[in-house]
Amino acid sequence: MTQYGMIIDLEKCIGCHACAVACKAEWEVPADQGRNWVKRLGPSMTPEGLAFTYYPGLCNHCDHPACVGACPAEPVPMEFKDPKSGQRKTLEVAATWKDPFDGTVQIDKKRCLGCGACAEACPYGARYVNPELGEDGKADKCNFCVERRAAGLDPACVQTCLAGARTFGDLDDPGSEAAKYVKKGAIRLESEAVQIGPNVFYYGKKRDLTLLASICAPKTMPQASLRRVLLARLCKAAVKGTKTRSLLDLLG
């Protein structure tokens, strides 16, 4: 199996935010939103000494994504294909899903209702609703640049990183550069309450990782906003109802 992931090497990151800007330029993300982001941390004291680092964040394409289950869109069958083995698999998916063959979490913008339930469900704040898409907005997030990769390119943030601090690859392939980083101690941003298997890892000095984890590892899972999910479902039902009624009206 393949599980795509990303490694951020904080020893190389210089905090220039070019990754965040490249992503906005590539995917037409509103300036005040982001599919990825950089936060500047410290200088702060840690048990290992004074730490000063950055938090370049993005969707973690989690092993157990909280966002996928929160999507209220009506599930439809979708066929997935393993590019390696050619194996096919059909799953019932809502407007967002975890790909069974490459481990990435994707969104179908056409079927997205724009309700924002997935954005609320993510403990990392990795999703937002782009109000410029569709009538009511559409959920958007890092998709590991699936379109660019299909064209043989690196994700935009990886290509633009002048420090070479970002490594994209298959974490399940022990020979990949990404997997090697995990082996030599790259960490996930997890806490006691949040253990959903994020697939973005951070590598760096112990003190910098201590500071990063203490500030940026989410401490709680967001409570799924049932109200919002229900509202989205009701809205959808109402839209359907309107269509039916206007047809009836036409019939006289």
């Binding site: 210089i14 800007v21 004074l50």
Partner: protein, 240 residues
């Protein structure tokens, strides 16, 4: 005597500025009519002219030796007695200057004031990228760094909105956010440079963050090298 003739419709900067000035109705304020006149004016203090430069075929630092020869074939020598870089210079000593730059203690901050130092943020290139909306959102203002122990004594907290006033009573036009950290010495505060633009045409950057330059009302010139020091102003932090 351009090394490369301009291609296509390329115009020089003086031509562009002058044409803009004329068409905006400021034709009477043009200081130089051409790039040649501009260069001539700048050569006067050095006792040179374009004609003289043409005659000399450029400015020669050392006759007959090119400093740009490939490594290993370089004949260039420094114009010192030893021909090398000198840490102790007898030439300077003979002219009654200290042969090794002498440390002079910088004036310390008056009681209640902190030294204002400034530097770059890797997000921006000086102040010229401040109005780029993407870069602006990456770092909308320049947090004021303050030592954690000083902050505790002064009752200031991380995230407070603050303004600055300097030793000459000049107050910052804008406020910024306070960043409390053990990563700065107790007698100093730090700001990233380039913030706090005043120009209303800078629709994104205007009024965002504190302008360090406005608070630098004093500077010092090093008597030996002529270098200008501008981390020489002192400020008080005002909570708002």
């Amino acid at each position: 005597m351009p090394l490369v003739e301009p291609m296509f419709e390329r115009k020089d900067s003086v031509w562009i500025v002058n044409e803009l000035a004329k068409r905006l109705g400021h034709g009477n304020k043009i200081p130089v009519a051409s790039i040649e006149e501009h260069v001539e004016k700048r050569l006067v203090p050095a006792g040179l002219s374009i004609a003289k430069l043409r005659e000399l075929q450029g400015i020669s630092l050392q006759d007959g030796k090119s400093p740009y020869a490939p490594a290993g074939q370089r004949e260039f020598e420094f114009r010192t007695d030893s021909g090398k870089v000198e840490l102790f210079s007898e030439q300077i000593d003979d002219n009654d200057f200290p042969p090794v730059p002498a440390y002079r203690p910088a004036p310390e901050a008056p009681a209640g004031y902190l030294r204002l130092v400034y530097g770059r943020a890797p997000v921006h290139s000086f102040s010229r990228t401040q109005n780029n909306i993407w870069l602006h959102h990456e770092m909308p203002e320049n947090p004021l760094w303050l030592n954690d122990q000083v902050a505790a004594k002064s009752g200031l907290k991380d995230g407070d909105r603050v303004m600055l006033v300097n030793q000459d009573g000049v107050k910052s036009r804008n406020s910024t956010v306070l960043k409390v950290t053990p990563g700065i010495r107790a007698d100093t505060v730090f700001l990233a440079h380039g913030y706090g633009a005043m120009n209303p045409e800078l629709s994104v950057a205007r009024g965002q963050g504190i302008d360090d330059q406005g608070l630098i009302t004093r500077f010092a010139v090093d008597p030996e090298t002529g270098a200008t020091g501008m981390r020489t102003s002192f400020v008080k932090v005002i909570k708002i």
